[in-house]
Every structure is written in structure tokens, then in C-alpha cells.
């Protein structure tokens, strides 16, 4: 049932096995997975405090109130929270869900996973089957675009044996290209960059030309962080996308937004504005290794029909995972395993 890398990354080739040639030591690797388990159990634990086992022992008004509280504290937002609780309450009232703890909890997880999943049972993979494929990464400042790109590049080159080229179209933030160059180095990817202040559209153009020339499989374009309210910068992003569209038919094949899991209700506005400017295929939900639960992803999925595809759970190369709706829902509700 768990979502694997090969489920979420549709690269057109089979993975060449688990990453083994990377700079990550065996010990560190274990560390990474332990961290994932720990961080998930941390989220669980935090919510479990709200949703103690006894919560569902007796089903009454307080049960629903505390359920509401738990969802709000997870940043799911008042709208999603109200509709989920209402639905669950109705199902219990009508008898379709037994009025006892385990049944309600399991049904709640199902409902939340359903909202997060969007497409019934299947996941919408990141489509990188074209050659070359172009992946465009956008989002607000500091949400984790560059870091996530480094991690994705590492997976693509180490797990799938693909040639990856990064385009440093963040020409705005000081030392942004240096930061990306360091990730390119760690991931074994190439990089195309220009000076600070250069036109981001032309950096994207150069990166794609270079990628075509050297026969790269995947080209990932990093962009400068911007607030969704900065009209001219949003227009500029639209321009970058149009430059890419003109160079390769069907490109960018995938456009992602990174959203910080600690973000509250503003995350919905972010996703909406970026979707309008560049059309979004998915979300990278970063920094889930903290105590924030990232419930805003539910609001984004339900209101904008944009699914989470990847989650960030740390700053290391391995700290990016395919999004797993069931696991996410379980972590939100904080129930057993």
C-alpha cells in the first residue's frame, strides 16, 4: 500500500535499484529512515494528545468538538474541518459507521486520505517520461524549492540512472546559484547558471538548450521565491513558463509548488495564485520533520484539486519521500500504526 518512488516518479525507465552510489554512508542512511519514522511518530504523538484513545469511547458533543480542534490545530482550516466533522457525524447518526472509537477513527482516516488522494486509489505521478523532460519548481521564499530540487535530482540520477541538468533561474536572491551549484555537486547533476540579476527567462532558455545539446534526460528549473501578491514577479514567472513552452512541445512536463508545512491558511492563497500564474501539477510539502502537520495540504487538495506529490522531512539528500495519503491521514489523526 505504501507509495514508492517508482509510483510517484514516472521517468519511463525502471529504477536501477536502491541508491547506493550516493555520498550517503550506510549509517547515515539508516539515520535518515529512522528520522522519517521518528518525525512521523512525532506528528502522531502531538495529535494523539488531542485525540486520545478515550476521545471516541463515548460519542457525544465533546467528541466532535475535540475532533474539530485536532483538525484545526493541524492547519486543515475551518472549511475542511467543518465538512469532515459534519460528514463523519452524519455517518455515525445514520448508522453507516458504528458509534464506537475504532470504527470512527478508521473512517476518519479514510475520509482524510480520500481528500488528500484526489483520484480514488491511484496516485498522479510526476510525469518525466519525455526526453528531455522539464520540471519547473516554484513557490514562496524559503519554502524549500532549491533544497527539494537537489534531493529530486539525486533520486533521478542515483535511483533511475538519469542525466539531470539544473537551471539556476533564481537570479534574484543573493548566492542562490551557489546554493544550487552545491546541490548539483552532491546530486551528480549538471548546472547552467548566469549572473545575479540576469533575466530568469533567458537562464531557463539556456538551460534547456544546453540540456538538449548534451542529451540530458531531465532538466529542473529552480526559480526565485516570490510572494503571490507580487504582481510583477508573478508575471515574470508566467514568462519563464512561456519561454519553456516555446522550446519544447509539452514542456514544462511538470510544475510543482513547494509549500512549507508550517504554513497556515495562506497556503491556499499561495497555491491558488501560483496555479493561476503557471498552472500547477502538484505540491512538495516540506519541513514535515517539525511538529507542523501540513493540514493545509488538505485544503489545497479539496479546493484546488492539486495533490501533494512529495514530502520533505529534513535537510539531507535522502530527506524527500513520495507522498503517501494514508500515512499522512494517519499521522494527522494520530492513531496507532
Amino acid at each position: 500500500m505504501t507509495v514508492e518512488w517508482s509510483d510517484i516518479l514516472d521517468t519511463g525507465v525502471a529504477p536501477t535499484g536502491p541508491p547506493d552510489s550516493g555520498p550517503v554512508e550506510e549509517g547515515e542512511k539508516k539515520g535518515a529512515f529512522r528520522r522519517l519514522r521518528e518525525s512521523l511518530s512525532r506528528s502522531r504523538q502531538a495529535l494523539a494528545e488531542e485525540l486520545t484513545a478515550s476521545l471516541f469511547d463515548r460519542v457525544d458533543e465533546e467528541t466532535w468538538e475535540r475532533l474539530e480542534e485536532a483538525l484545526i490545530l493541524a492547519d486543515a482550516g475551518p472549511m475542511v474541518t467543518a465538512s469532515v466533522v459534519e460528514r463523519l457525524e452524519m455517518e455515525v447518526d445514520s448508522g453507516s459507521v458504528a458509534p464506537e472509537g475504532d470504527a470512527i477513527r478508521e473512517r476518519l482516516i479514510e475520509i482524510l486520505a480520500e481528500i488528500a488522494r484526489l483520484d480514488g486509489d491511484s496516485v498522479r505521478p510526476i510525469d518525466l517520461t519525455a526526453r528531455p523532460s522539464v520540471l519547473l519548481v516554484t513557490g514562496v521564499n524559503g519554502t524549500g524549492k532549491t533544497t527539494s530540487i537537489g534531493k529530486i535530482a539525486w533520486h533521478l540520477s542515483n535511483e533511475f540512472g538519469l542525466d539531470v541538468l539544473l537551471g539556476a533561474a533564481d537570479t534574484y536572491r543573493a548566492a542562490a546559484a551557489e546554493q544550487l551549484a552545491e546541490w548539483a555537486d552532491r546530486a551528480g547533476a549538471g548546472i547552467v547558471r548566469s549572473q545575479e540579476g540576469a533575466d530568469p527567462g533567458s537562464v531557463a532558455f539556456d538551460a534547456i538548450e544546453a540540456g538538449k545539446a548534451r542529451g540530458s534526460d531531465v532538466i529542473i528549473i529552480d526559480t526565485a521565491g516570490r510572494l503571490q501578491t507580487q504582481g510583477s514577479l508573478m508575471d515574470e514567472l508566467g514568462k519563464v513558463r512561456r519561454v519553456i513552452e516555446k522550446q519544447i512541445e509539452g514542456a514544462p512536463h511538470e510544475t510543482l509548488i513547494s509549500i512549507d508545512a508550517t504554513t497556515g491558511q495562506n497556503g491556499l492563497r499561495q497555491a491558488k495564485a501560483f496555479a493561476e500564474a503557471v498552472h500547477l501539477d502538484g505540491v512538495i510539502l516540506t519541513k514535515l520533520d517539525g511538529t507542523a502537520k501540513g493540514g493545509i495540504a488538505l485544503a489545497i487538495a479539496s479546493e484546488l484539486d492539486i495533490p501533494v506529490k512529495l514530502i520533505g522531512i529534513g535537510e539531507g539528500l535522502e530527506d524527500l519521500r513520495p507522498f503517501d495519503p494514508d500515512q499522512f491521514a494517519r499521522a494527522l489523526v494520530g492513531s496507532g500504526e
Binding site: 484545526i72 495562506n266 519541513k287 535537510e315
Partner: protein, 454 residues
């Protein structure tokens, strides 16, 4: 949704007015709306809970003022409590007289520490202080290069030892160097860290113990959700920060996190970062933040002004007069002065949410001079003339014109217009007259939804 808080409160509480006091049920209905609005603004759930409890209590106690409708009455209470919670006009940084002042910056990854450090350096530099920055983020790739670039732009010196050195050592070395070089301020930029990262939190606490900074600032992203509280609590435990910098306030986040952090830690919000440019950084104004969280622009201060200026009984009397065409120039003068007491008409327009954002209105030039002229003309009349404008003929007109420094033509126009206005008023009066409190109400009702739908 939330943009219409004031509208929703007004419709929720419609009909309450006649009772003169808000009943428990009315208040509960209002509290539901407020709770929703605050949650939409990311105010922490627990803070909302205790906040609404307090507001409820006050609403139950208070009389519904005659000049306000119950919805506005509730908003007023909410605003007062919010501003109160946000803290007075926050304290400033502590400076060492004639020596080196050390400021330590802390926060989550991506919260905007490096930018805030440079902006603070620029702000203090503008105050005439010699500022240096220390680069203690040895973890994030190219963090040092970033600080060097923005620090240079801010006109500050950047001390760095590369990524191999230990952050605690760098901090200590930088403090010594700054002292040696006779700097006034040293700002220490640290790596972003999750509050659950024990190793890094210990490192931060060690930096604090080693260099004993005079000010520790926590940088919090305005877009932070419910987690802001646990973040602030953990940082407070590790380094006991003195104040908060709220970043990215130039976006459209309501910034409820700011309120939560203040409510939970009691630490003031000292600075707000509001844009890309180095100078988009300023001392924080708690009162403005309350309106922002509620999404109502300055309609609150408008309500307050209207409330101060308008005596409800007087308004009723006026309405009666208008209905019977007994409205005189004396009444007119009084009315006009009441409105003008609230401030220049142009400012009032700007205060109304939505109006400020509407480009056309920015160009509307309310002719204050014209209003002055009208006032002067009326003041030059005798009381008898003001009560019976019909008697203003020939020589009286000349005298009034001379007295007010206007032309006879202008006096004529005023008298004529007033006559027309009085007729018009009679027709309108049955539907209520536009006294200032209703003006505020009307704009609160229509303008707000408009801004957000841009």
C-alpha cells in the same frame, strides 16, 4: 468568507438593537463568527478559545450603544481586546551605552533570518550606528555568501570563518573582533533550525551563553499556521528571546501567528519586515495589526471616531426635523462640523477599506477649501437667518458675502442649494438620514468584500 466578518456580524445581530443589550444567544452567534474569522487568520486555536471567552464576557456586560449597531458594538470590543493582546507600542532594542550591543537572530529554516539581519543592520546603520554581521549559518549551502552580499548592500561589515568553523567559536570570535574594531552593533545570523532539533537548539543556547547577547530576536514568518505557538515556546525555552520580528508581512497573510506568539510568550513584536527592499523593515505597530487580522482595514478607527462624534439623541432630533422640513442652516452647520471633526474628508475616504485600494478614489480631491467657504458663509449669518434662510435677500446677502470674504453669487448658490437639499431630505428622511455613524456602517458593509475580490 472572513472578509465579511463585519457584514456577517451585522446580519447575525440584526434585530438585537431594540433590546438595548446583547442576549447570551446573540453573543454566542457572534462568537461563532469571530472564532471562524480568527481561525482563518491562523490565530492559534487555544488563543482563540480564551480570547472569545473574554470577548463574550465583555459583550454580555455592555449596553448596545445607541449610535452603534450591535454588530459594530461587538467588533469594537473585539478590536479593543485584540489590540490589548497584541501589546502596547512594543519596546525597543536594548543598547549598550558607548559599547558594543550584540543581537542574536534565531528562527526556523526559511523564516527570513538572513534578510532580516541585513535589514536590521541597514535600519540601525541609518540611525548612525556602525554595524557588523556575523555569519554563523555554516549548514545551509551558500548561506554565508548570501549574508556577505546582503550585508554589503546594507553597508555593514560581514565577519565569517567559512563553513568549517564551529558556530559557537565564530560568534565568540566575531564579538571580540567587533569590540576591537569599535563597532556599535553586532548582529549574529544563525542557521535556521527546527524547534525539535535538539542538537541545533543546544548549539543556539550555547551561543547565547557564550556571547551573552543583549537582545535575542525570533524571526517568525507571517504565514505560519497553528504551529507558531509550539515553535515560540521551544525557542523561548532554549534562548529566552526578547522580541519577535515578523517577516513577509507584505504578502496577504493575515498574520494571526504574530498574535499567538505574543499571547503565549508575552514577548513583544518589535519589527515587521514588509518587502524585498533593504529598507522595507520597520518598528511594529500593534494597533494596525489588529485590523489586519480581522481583515477590516481601518474601519475600526472610523467606527470609533463616528462614535465619539455623534450623539445618538441629537441624530434622532435631526431626523425628525428633516422629515418635517424644519432642518435649518444651523443644523446643517452642526452636521458638517461633526463630519469634519472626524478628519479631512479625503483621509476618511482613505480609511475606508476598499476605498484606499481603489485607484480612482485616490485621485478624488475633496475640496476642503470649498467646505471652509461654506462654513464661513453660514458663520456670517445671524441666528435668525440660519433658522429662516428664506429671509436672506438683497442687503443681507451683500453683508454675508462681505463678512465671509466671498462673492454674493456664492452666497446665493448656497441658499438655493440648501433649499433644494431640504426638500430632498424630506423625501429621504423616512428612510433614515446619512449621519456619520451610518456612513461608517454603509462603507463597512459594502467596501470590504470588494477589495478582496480584486
Amino acid at each position: 468568507m472572513f472578509d465579511q466578518l463585519s457584514e456577517r456580524l451585522q446580519s447575525t445581530l440584526a434585530g438585537v438593537r431594540s433590546k438595548g443589550r446583547l442576549g447570551e444567544e446573540d453573543v454566542d452567534r457572534a462568537m461563532r463568527e469571530i472564532r471562524l474569522a480568527l481561525l482563518e487568520a491562523d490565530v492559534n486555536f487555544k488563543v482563540v478559545k480564551s480570547f472569545t471567552a473574554r470577548v463574550k464576557e465583555r459583550c454580555l456586560e455592555s449596553e448596545v450603544l445607541e449610535s452603534l449597531d450591535p454588530g459594530q458594538q461587538v467588533i469594537k470590543v473585539v478590536n479593543e481586546e485584540l489590540t490589548d493582546l497584541m501589546g502596547g507600542s512594543g519596546r525597543d532594542l536594548a543598547f549598550v551605552d558607548g559599547g558594543l550591543t550584540v543581537i542574536l537572530m534565531a528562527g526556523l529554516q526559511g523564516s527570513g533570518k538572513t534578510t532580516a539581519s541585513a535589514k536590521l543592520a541597514a535600519l540601525l546603520g541609518r540611525d548612525g550606528r556602525k554595524v557588523a554581521l556575523a555569519a554563523c549559518d555554516v549548514y545551509r549551502p551558500a548561506a554565508i555568501e548570501q549574508l556577505e552580499t546582503v550585508g554589503r548592500r546594507a553597508g555593514a561589515t560581514v565577519y565569517q570563518k567559512g563553513t568549517e568553523a564551529d558556530p559557537v567559536e565564530i560568534a565568540k570570535w566575531a564579538v571580540d573582533l567587533a569590540r576591537e574594531e569599535g563597532r556599535d552593533v553586532l548582529i549574529i545570523d544563525t542557521a535556521g533550525r527546527l524547534h525539535v532539533d535538539e542538537g541545533l537548539m543546544a548549539e543556539l543556547s550555547k551561543i547565547r551563553k557564550t556571547v551573552k547577547p543583549h537582545n535575542i530576536l525570533l524571526v517568525v514568518d507571517a504565514m505560519t499556521g497553528q504551529d507558531a505557538v509550539s515553535v515560540a515556546e521551544s525557542f523561548s525555552e532554549a534562548v529566552e528571546f526578547d522580541g519577535v520580528v515578523i517577516s513577509k508581512l507584505d504578502g496577504d497573510a493575515r498574520g494571526g501567528a504574530a498574535l499567538s506568539v505574543k499571547a503565549v510568550t508575552g514577548k513583544p513584536i518589535m519589527f515587521a519586515s514588509t518587502g524585498e527592499k533593504l529598507d522595507a523593515f520597520d518598528r511594529f505597530h500593534p494597533d494596525r495589526m489588529a485590523g489586519r487580522i480581522l481583515g477590516m482595514g481601518d474601519v475600526l478607527s472610523l467606527i470609533e471616531k463616528a462614535e465619539q462624534q455623534v450623539d445618538a439623541d441629537e441624530a434622532e432630533e435631526l431626523q425628525r426635523k428633516m422629515a418635517s422640513e424644519q432642518f435649518t442652516l444651523e443644523d446643517f452647520l452642526k452636521q458638517m462640523r461633526q463630519v469634519r471633526k472626524m478628519g479631512p474628508i479625503g483621509n476618511l475616504l482613505g480609511m475606508m477599506p476598499g476605498m484606499g485600494a481603489m485607484k480612482q478614489l485616490k485621485d478624488v480631491d475633496v475640496d476642503e477649501g470649498e467646505l471652509d467657504r461654506v462654513e464661513a458663509i453660514i458663520l456670517s449669518m445671524t441666528r435668525e437667518e440660519r433658522l429662516n434662510p428664506e429671509i436672506i435677500k438683497g442687503s443681507r446677502r451683500r453683508r454675508i458675502a462681505e463678512g465671509s470674504g466671498t462673492r454674493i453669487q456664492q452666497v446665493n448658490n448656497l441658499v438655493k442649494q440648501f433649499g433644494q437639499m431640504r426638500k430632498l431630505m424630506k423625501q429621504v428622511a423616512s428612510g433614515g438620514m446619512p449621519d456619520p455613524s451610518q456612513l461608517a456602517k454603509a462603507t463597512g458593509r459594502q467596501a470590504r468584500p470588494r477589495i478582496r475580490r480584486r
